[in-house]
């Protein structure tokens, strides 16, 4: 049997490698390995031509991290610290709405969780230091806040709502890395079920009605704890089998 095919939204951006400096469709290998390690097959979905037809071929989808969502999507003006990625916004909001409408198992990571909230009619805080008075949700690039001996900057606990699906998956609490300066304010049609206990910043959103739609504000792909990826791949396998049976 074919492994569940998991689409992962990719960046289209300037990269430097070897002696090359060029525009590339790309995604850090940590995402790819997280899907392969949990039994899925990763394919990268570039924001080249906004369309949703690719959804039909996927068993599940991951919306990856990256820049900020344009606040125009929820009717706000951009904050001076907001750095939008217009190309990805257009493509990913279209894909997200289609994925949710199709009830395709969906995982949002960092920016991906924020795209989930905005696609579902929600809003974001554009710059957390303005709200909570510190920037400890944003670890320095290249740092592993979960590593042995790392400072607590960019690492914090998450408390999880009893009775939620995230609680069944992750338990009552977790310790996570943190690489963001924006956060979900209103999760729209989703439900907030996990928070940073220090400042009440929303860390997990989920759907009670869709088969699998989970957003996490941290980067599980950069840790050894791949439970959210395993849950996505499992849901993708289950839904794919079920949908094929229904079609047959």
């Amino acid at each position: 049997m074919r492994r569940p095919l998991i689409g992962m939204t990719a960046y289209a951006q300037q990269v430097h490698y070897g002696g090359n400096d060029l525009m590339a469709g790309m995604l850090p290998m940590t995402y790819v390995r997280a899907v392969h390690a949990t039994g899925g097959r990763a394919v990268l979905i570039t924001p080249d031509a906004p369309d949703i037809d690719v959804i039909e071929s996927l068993d599940g989808i991951v919306f990856s991290g990256g820049g900020d969502v344009d606040p125009a999507y929820w009717g706000a003006q951009p904050h001076p610290e907001t750095e939008i990625d217009e190309f990805r916004d257009t493509s990913e909001l279209m894909l997200m709405k289609a994925a949710l409408a199709a009830d395709l198992p969906t995982l949002g990571v960092c920016r991906g969780m924020q795209v989930m909230a905005v696609a579902a009619g929600g809003t974001l805080h554009q710059h957390l230091p303005d709200l909570i008075g510190h920037d400890r949700h944003r670890a320095a690039p290249g740092v592993d806040p979960m590593g042995a001996g790392a400072s607590a900057f960019g690492r914090h606990d998450v408390v999880i709502q009893p009775g939620s699906r995230a609680h069944a998956l992750l338990g009552a609490d977790a310790t996570v890395n943190s690489f963001h300066h924006q956060a979900v304010d209103d999760p729209g049609d989703f439900t907030a079920v996990g928070w940073c206990p220090d400042d009440r910043v929303i860390e997990i959103i989920e759907s009670g009605s869709l088969r699998f739609a989970l957003g996490v504000q941290w980067h599980p792909e950069r840790t050894a704890d791949l439970r959210v990826f395993a849950a996505l791949v499992e849901a993708a396998a289950y839904c794919s089998r079920r949908d094929s049976r229904l079609a047959a």
Binding site: Q14, H16, Y17, L22, A24, T30, A49
Partner: protein, 235 residues
Amino acid sequence: MRPIIGITTYVERADFGVWRDVPAALVPQAYVEAVTVAGGRAVLLPPDDLDAGVVDVLDGLVLSGGADIGPSLYGAEPEPLTVTRPDRDGGESALLRRALDRDTPVLGVCRGMQLLVAAAGGRLHQHLPDVLGHERHSPAPGVYGEQVARFVPGSRVAGLLGDGAEIQCHHHQGVADAGGLVVTGRTEDGLPEAVEDPRRRFVLGVQWHPEVGRDGRLFQALVDAARRAALSAAG
């Protein structure tokens, strides 16, 4: 629904935005744009050697360029200037075998052409300047060698591009023996620049980089073949 075209990715340590030295799956955006312009839906395929089942949902496959293929793929020992990516070799070989089994349309570009040749039982020269005595196929890092290829009349590539074409090359290895494939294009030094398998729906390898520049005819031909393959599979 557009034909889905898988493009194999490189895996390289890359700098981007504020990030440095991050292992990333990547492919030059020019490949993605070439597929998009031709009417296909590009999805990128990072290397994965567990299985090649993903080919079953593809309508076409592009084997992209990059580092040298492992000489073990054609039964040789690596020479001093050969730089390989074993993770790509395994994953891409499996994808190619599956694609050939299913008669999925395949376009091989540069390294991808060399992979096609190895899969067909051929072999490569591991450093062309040693064989040809010139560096016109890869004049300098980041610089394409501008050359002219001549095509065999009646071949697939001649049907697409005519008698010849100006091509942009960047490779230091080349085809010594095309194995079960037919050589249908060469530069004036005699080096094979195009190979194809006339027994299959669409299997074309080119040693140059058709994604660079504005000539989209090869990608158009791949996407058209992929569309036809999808329609015939749908019955």
